[in-house]
């Protein structure tokens, strides 16, 4: 078995799968980082991803167009985030409970809409999913070519978004505004920043990321919609946001580690390691909890997180 693990094919496959499986988690983590940096915890993430997965899938099923599916999923994510904005930003309700409400609502809605459109056929409908795109020249490099440079377009886009979100948050005026609101909304208001509008825009951006992250699972990773397609990836993204200390690059690193564990456990199963496969399925969640423990003491939570902003409360 050892020789199998160190074979070129195994390593290439493992890296490729790691990058593939971390894609939706990186996307969702980036979305959550933007939202939380502005001071809003969005626990609607898991349900929003499921709704994005359903809307993206159904749109592609109807039109045959994959990118239209991605676009629709982003819009679906934005729509749900706007509900979240009304509840948690404008009305200032508990962010915890509002978010859980969105997740419960969106999960129900996703499955309701899916059933409504496809009915209950014995064989669930499938679409022709995204195929990996080999980047010319680079994809011919041994091992790296077939792993790093033969990925889905959405994965490449996700990689590009990591530095872009970083630059937005830390190098632009708008990003500074977002971070100020997340730290001290009263100070931001004093210098003329519209706190609630900015938080709404951040929620909307995050929602688009969640929607597309969900759609990645039904349009690229798989070719059908299943009720448990998200499988807690949204909650993992919440964990990775904390693990990455609200920093896009570190959050992505955390997501990559999770993707690696996810890919590794799948391969251990197929190699026929003599352990119940549920033990492997458990490992990524356990390691995520351990990772949270390791950073918990030095985590620097945005000071305004969870606090609704009401000018009258000053």
């Amino acid at each position: 078995m050892m020789s199998e693990i160190f074979s070129v094919a195994f390593i290439t496959g493992l890296i490729a799968a790691t990058l593939r499986m971390s894609t939706p988690i990186i996307l969702a983590t980036l979305g959550e980082i933007i939202t939380e940096r502005s001071g809003v915890l969005n626990l609607g993430i898991e349900g929003t991803m499921l709704f994005g997965a359903a809307v993206g899938f159904l749109t592609t099923l109807a039109t045959g167009n994959l990118w239209l599916g991605v676009f629709a999923a982003a819009l679906a994510g934005i729509a749900l985030s706007l509900i979240m904005a009304v509840l948690a930003v404008y009305l200032g309700l508990s962010q915890h409970v509002s978010g859980l409400g969105i997740t419960i609502f969106a999960s129900g809605l996703a499955m309701f809409v899916y059933r409504l459109v496809v009915g209950s056929p014995i064989v669930p409908p499938i679409i022709t999913p995204f195929t990996p795109v080999a980047i010319p020249l680079l994809s011919r490099i041994p091992i790296l070519g077939a792993s790093f440079f033969t990925q889905y377009s959405l994965t490449y886009i996700t990689w590009a978004l990591i530095p872009l979100v970083s630059i937005f948050l830390f190098k632009t005026r708008a990003g500074l505004r977002v971070r100020t609101i997340g730290q001290n909304p009263f100070a931001a208001d004093t210098v003329g920043v519209n706190v609630n509008l900015t938080r709404t825009l951040c929620l909307a951006a995050g929602g688009a990321f969640f929607g597309v992250a969900g759609a990645f699972l039904t349009l690229a990773h798989q070719n059908m919609f299943l009720i448990d397609v998200i499988g807690g990836r949204g909650w993992i993204a919440i964990a990775m946001t904390i693990f990455g200390n609200w920093n896009p690059l570190m959050g992505a690193v955390g997501a990559l580690i999770f993707g690696f564990l996810d890919a590794f456990q799948l391969r251990m199963q197929t190699l026929g390691v003599d352990l119940p496969f549920h033990i492997f399925l458990m490992i990524p969640y356990l390691i995520t909890i351990l990772a949270l423990i390791s950073v918990s003491r030095k985590a620097t939570v945005p000071a305004g997180l969870l606090k609704p902003y009401r000018r009258e409360d000053k």
């Binding site: 509840l87 009305l91 409970v97 509002s98 999960s107 129900g108 409504l116 909890i289």
Partner: protein
């Protein structure tokens, strides 16, 4: 440009709090009429089928009680934890823990005198859920790890522990499916009403409502637990061992969810399987909020969601509305209730600028 601000209002008379959940339910059913219309259903016929399916006959009504039992317990579990601001989103996992322990006792403790089987199973199931909930409580108090995230992630951990057991040591010999052997007859919850599934667990959940009400309003611990929820630092300053209070709160909360798991095994399935809960732990969150974290409110809210969930099957059959409308109703009622609670304390003032 129209601006909006939220200002405190004068305290409303207490009876308003009794009307609030009813009003929230009414508004919810108005909103969820939209997906029913979109699904091509007749709203009156659909809701008629829903309520008839849940309440319209002796058997249906008793089934609604059967379904309410685990929901009361998970609702109490969440309400008790939220009251202390211990964000226990892990009732689903704690339910699994209770179900695993209950089936372990029910299958393997055949050496016990039969009159002891049920008490041991119930106590162990409570402790199973309670101890599972101490993990996030310990991580929160000692290591400052966010309880929302850990309780959520631990749901998946215990789900896979259950999977490993059901494909491993607890799998029924000769079965290809992930299910355990059946529990012994002495471990069955007795049925209390003939020609129905009205079982002991329903009485246990009613008793739990009274016990939690008693703890909340008549004991020092209940008072401390609430104090921790209202202001952790003030409670600490006032000499309360807040870590211990959170730990005890977690054990009771997880234990209640564990009892829900015991009931599903001992009264409904009589063996352990992956689908032991259709999300009772998550619905418990909605129930806790709709019940305004009060035990009696939780019992009523649990009954309401039981009506929805039992009735939705009839509605699905009669009016062709997908059963997943249940999730939509749950989500919408949670959000509506939140807004209604807000409106009891604040008013929204629209301003032109």
């Amino acid at each position: 440009m129209i601006g909006m601000s939220i200002v405190k209002r004068k305290p409303l008379p207490p009876w308003v709090m009794l009307i609030i959940p009813v009003a929230a339910v009414f508004v919810t059913l108005l909103i969820t009429a939209i997906p029913i219309l979109i699904a091509g259903g007749n709203v009156f016929k659909a809701y008629g089928a829903l309520f008839h399916g849940a309440l319209g006959s002796r058997f249906n009504l008793l089934e609604t009680f059967v379904k309410a039992s685990p929901l009361i317990l998970t609702g109490l579990a969440v309400a008790f934890a939220f009251r202390a601001k211990f964000w226990n989103i892990g009732a689903e996992g704690q339910l699994f823990a209770g179900a695993i322990i209950a089936s372990w006792v029910g299958i393997y403790f055949t050496w016990l005198p039969s009159f002891l089987v049920l008490p041991v199973m119930i106590i162990f199931g409570f402790l199973g859920g309670g101890l599972w909930a101490t993990i996030p409580a310990f991580l929160k108090t000692k290591l400052k790890v966010d309880d929302v995230v850990t309780t959520l992630l631990l749901n998946y951990v215990i789900l896979h522990i259950m999977g490993a057991l059901l494909f491993g040591p607890m799998q029924m010999p000769g079965s290809a499916w992930p299910r355990s052997a059946s529990i012994m007859d002495a471990a069955f919850y007795p049925m209390l009403i003939a020609r129905s599934r009205f079982h002991l667990g329903i009485i246990i959940s009613f008793a739990a409502v009274l016990v939690i009400w008693f703890i909340n309003s008549k004991t020092v611990f209940g008072y401390q637990s609430k104090g921790v929820g209202i202001n952790l630092n003030a409670a600490k300053f006032g000499g309360i061992n807040t870590n211990m209070v959170i730990l005890k709160t977690a054990i009771i909360s997880g234990g209640l969810a564990g009892l829900a798991g015991v009931g599903e095994v001992a009264a409904i399935h009589h063996h352990l399987m992956m689908d032991v809960s259709p999300g009772y732990g998550y619905t418990g969150i909605v129930i806790a909020m709709l019940g305004n974290l009060h035990p009696i409110g939780v019992a009523l809210a649990a009954f309401f969601f039981s009506v929805i969930s039992v009735g939705a099957q009839t509605m699905s059959r009669v009016a062709g509305i997908p059963i997943y409308i249940v999730g939509i109703i749950e989500g919408v009622s949670l959000m509506t209730m939140l807004i209604f609670i807000l409106l009891t304390e604040y008013k929204i003032r629209w301003t032109k600028s």
